[in-house]
């Protein structure tokens, strides 16, 4: 009665499934140890999010540079989306020309600090002309001026145990970066746009600029930066406000 062929198939199939499951478990362990699992890896989109993030971090250089452009290629129209925060503290600071605005940097750092806009401008400034695409589909090229986030992070001294840099704006759109992007040379704290002070709707007085990710990662209206080793207890533990609204935490796509 027994068919030797199907029994052999059954055994091979069983072994293959077992080996596959073991392989996946080992892969998941390794991925977790090397920081390849994004904070929004749960849920129905977790498979895609994890594959995209892990693949990009494994296969790509951490220091690859987004394309930079010439002055002549700067877009004449600089589109903008969203309104400035409607909160009392922000409106008061805006009315005062941001003279009383301070950036607070704390968490797992050796020297928690606060910076006025002038103090940030005293750090070596640099400019980049890069392309920014919104996840909706539109895009523009602009020149951003500011201080590299790595300069500020090195100034406050990031703990060796740190894993993420969390940024809080005056509204709800908080976000976070892994250290690869936080220390990336094109990750800026920008206070200038196209040679002028950063306009209010573009995120005044200070916004993040993450050249290798979609626009929504470049958080506007910054007020605080926190260095941490875990995102689990921040918000819903998904790494930023974006996944709570249906977007990916990692916007390198």
């Amino acid at each position: 009665m027994s068919d030797p062929v199907s029994r052999r198939k059954l055994i091979t199939g069983g072994l293959a499934i077992g080996a596959g499951a073991a392989g996946l478990t080992v892969a998941a362990r390794l991925a977790s140890r090397y920081g390849l699992i994004p904070p929004d890896s749960g849920g129905i989109w977790g498979l895609g999010e994890t594959l995209t993030y892990a693949t990009q971090r494994v296969l790509m250089s951490r220091h690859s540079l987004a394309r930079e452009f010439n002055h002549s290629e700067i877009s004449k129209v600089v589109p903008v989306s969203g309104e400035p925060p409607q909160t009392e503290p922000f409106e008061r600071l805006l009315a005062g020309g941001f003279r009383d605005w301070r950036l607070k940097v704390d968490g797992m750092v050796a020297r928690p600090s606060t910076f006025s806009l002038d103090e940030l401008k005293r750090f070596p400034s640099s400019s980049q002309i890069t392309h920014q695409a919104c996840e909706e589909g539109w895009s523009f090229i602009a020149e951003w001026t500011g201080v590299q986030l790595s300069t500020v992070l090195n100034f406050v001294g990031v703990s060796p145990q740190a894993q993420f840099v969390v940024v809080y704006p005056f509204d709800e759109s908080w976000d976070s970066l892994d250290l690869a992007d936080a220390f990336h040379p094109q990750t800026f704290l920008a206070y200038g746009l196209n040679g002028q002070e950063l306009p209010t709707r573009h995120g005044a007085p200070l916004r993040l600029r993450v050249a290798r990710q979609l626009g929504y990662k470049s958080v506007k209206y910054l007020s605080r930066i926190t260095v941490t080793d875990s995102l689990k207890n921040i918000g819903k533990g998904l790494g930023s406000a974006a996944p709570e609204a249906g977007y990916s935490w990692f916007a390198g796509i």
């Binding site: 989109w45 987004a66 394309r67 392309h131 539109w138 090229i141 990710q213 974006a242 609204a245």
Partner: protein, 241 residues
């Protein structure tokens, strides 16, 4: 057909399906249906992404307030932002690409591409090409062949080796992270928005291909073709009593 007479390894354990040639290998069938599922996800989510900004541009940049190449007759931001659309698009793309990679590697190793898709030299004459085109235009039902005809071979080759790679690369061209490593993915097309527009047209091409593919399956005999792609065999001839 005699040449395909079932060997013991391929035997199907039902008495009424005999002797019909195996049209599709298990791997082709498996990847076909996985791909079908992910293509559906890609099409639905692709449309959801377009709904957020149904305007298309040429060159590097484009947005509201700049001249567009063309606009779909849809309101901007209909249905709000497309967060879920993007997540579904990427998840489906990953499954499609993994299934495609499996199909590609096995197609090379088993010589499936060489024997089943590469046109036979005898088929490449204008005469036989014309005959095949006329047969198709007259909706003449093809003879029960055990392999693809010349038009099938050419269209599958185009889709597998030209359209799929192009739609993947134009997708990569829109990734700020990927183009930081390989800028050529976007520069060969002349810019981010050009790549986005081409990605849209390539997707449309695949949708048209799908419609023709389904039409041909129906014309060629829907149930036998479906059976072939599910069980591997088209035949259902009763065994002579």
């Amino acid at each position: 057909m005699a040449g395909f007479a079932s060997t013991p390894r391929l035997a199907i354990q039902t008495s009424d399906i005999v002797d019909s040639p195996r049209r599709h290998s298990a791997l082709v069938r498996f990847t076909h249906w996985i791909f079908t599922l992910s293509f559906f996800g890609l099409a639905v989510s692709g449309f959801a992404i377009i709904l957020a900004h149904p305007h298309f541009y040429w060159g590097e940049t484009g947005g509201i307030g700049t001249p567009s190449l063309f606009d779909l007759p849809l309101p901007t931001m209909l249905g709000g932002p497309s967060g879920w659309g993007r997540s579904l698009h990427f998840q489906s793309a990953w499954i499609a690409v993994l299934a495609g990679a499996l199909y590609f590697v096995s197609g090379v190793l088993t010589q499936h591409f060489r024997s089943q898709l590469l046109p036979r030299s005898t088929d490449l004459s204008w005469r036989s090409l014309r005959a095949s085109i006329i047969d198709h235009l007259r909706f003449r039902r093809p003879a029960e062949e055990d392999s693809y005809n010349i038009l099938q071979r050419l269209s599958y080759l185009t889709v597998v080796f030209l359209v799929f790679p192009l739609i993947i690369v134009t997708g990569f061209a829109m990734s700020p992270a990927i183009t930081s490593v390989i800028p050529e993915f976007v520069t060969i097309f002349g810019g981010h928005q050009t790549a986005r527009t081409l990605h849209f047209f390539l997707g449309d091409f695949l949708l048209v291909f799908l419609l023709i593919h389904i039409a041909m399956v129906i014309l060629a005999g829907f149930s036998s073709r479906m059976r072939a792609m599910i069980t591997g065999r088209a035949g259902s001839r009763k065994e002579p009593a």
